[in-house]
Symmetry: C2
Subunit: 166 residues, 2 copies
Amino acid sequence: MTDAQRSGCPINLTLEVVGDKWSLLVIRDMMFGNRRHFRELLTKSDEGISSNILADRLKTLLERGIITRDDDPSHKQKGIYSLTEQGVELLPILAQMSAWGYKYLPVSEELGIRARLLSEGGPKMWAEFMDELRETHLGVKRRRKAGPSAGERLQAAYEKVVARKK
Amino acid sequence: MTDAQRSGCPINLTLEVVGDKWSLLVIRDMMFGNRRHFRELLTKSDEGISSNILADRLKTLLERGIITRDDDPSHKQKGIYSLTEQGVELLPILAQMSAWGYKYLPVSEELGIRARLLSEGGPKMWAEFMDELRETHLGVKRRRKAGPSAGERLQAAYEKVVARKK
DNA sequence: GCAACCAGTTGCATAATGCAATTGGTGAGG
DNA sequence: CCTCACCAATTGCATTATGCAACTGGTTGC
C-alpha cells in the first residue's frame, strides 16, 4: 500500500486507491449493508476480514478521502464511518462488478438477487440509490419518491430469498 | 492468488478474479492499446510490469476464461492473446473506473482524454467499442457504421493531445 | 553463424496479508 | 465501586504476493 505512482492513467490511479482485495468490500458493506462502525464491518461481513486489515483499510480510505470518521455521541469509543461524495460515486463500479460476477461466476442465490435487481435497474436505479446514500451518509436531503426506495427494494428482495430458502 | 473462496457475493467473486493490482491493467492494454503479444504487454505499458508477474497474470486469466492464447503463425514462439466474451464484458468496469479516476485523481492530460471521451460516450459508446473488440478478438463480423469507430475515435483523440503537447 | 528477438523461468529480497492474542479504554447493571 | 460485556484498534509472528535482475532455451533474419 505504498504511494509510488505507476502512471497517470485513470484506471491505474483508481486501482491504486481501491484495487486491493478488501477496500471495495468494505465500501460494499457500508453501502449495501449499512455498516457504519468498526465492529459491524468486522463481524457482519461474509468474508471475515481481520481486525488489523480492517483498521489499515479504514485508515487508508480516510486518507484518500473516500470515507470520513466521526465520533459516535452515544459512546466515546465508537466511531461512525461515512462515505464521502467520492465514496458514493464508487457505486457504479461496484454495480458493474456485481453485474459481471452475477453473469459469469458462481454467485449464491441470496446474494445474487441484489445483483440482478441492481443490474436490471440500470444507471437510473444506481442514481436513485446514490441519492439515498448521500442522504444517509452526507445528510443531504432529497425529494422522496413514492413507494420503497432503491435500498429498501434491494433489502426486501434479499430478505425474501433468505426466508424462502429456510 | 489462491482459489480459497471467501463468499458467494458477486462483487467479492469478481474481485477474486480481477481484484489484484495488475490483471485489469493487462486487460486495459489489450483493449485500448491492442497489445496482443507477451512482449508488447511487457514493454509497451506505462506502468512497467515485470515479466514474472505478467506471465503469472496471463496464466491466471487464461485459467479463468478471461483470455485465450493462440500460436502466432508468423513466429513459432509468439503467442497471440485474445479476450473472450467474458473479457470483453469487463469493459464497463474499466469504463467506470476510468470515469471515477478522471473525476477525482491526478490523471495526466494525454491519458485523461480517453477517459473523458469514454465517459461522455456513455453505455452506448461502450457497446460500440465492445462490438469492435468482439470483431478483433473473437472474429465476430459486425455491421460497420459510417465514420471512425469508437476505438479509432479514442486513439485519434489521444494522438491529438500527444501531438499538441510536443 | 550470429545478433536480435521471443516467451517465459529462477533466485532472492521486500511488502502485503492473515491469524490469534492482547491492549487500553467505555458503559451498563448490581 | 466493581465486574463484565463491549469497543476500536494494536502487536507478534507466519504465510503469501509482489518486484527486480539475471538467465534459459528457443526462433528469425541477415
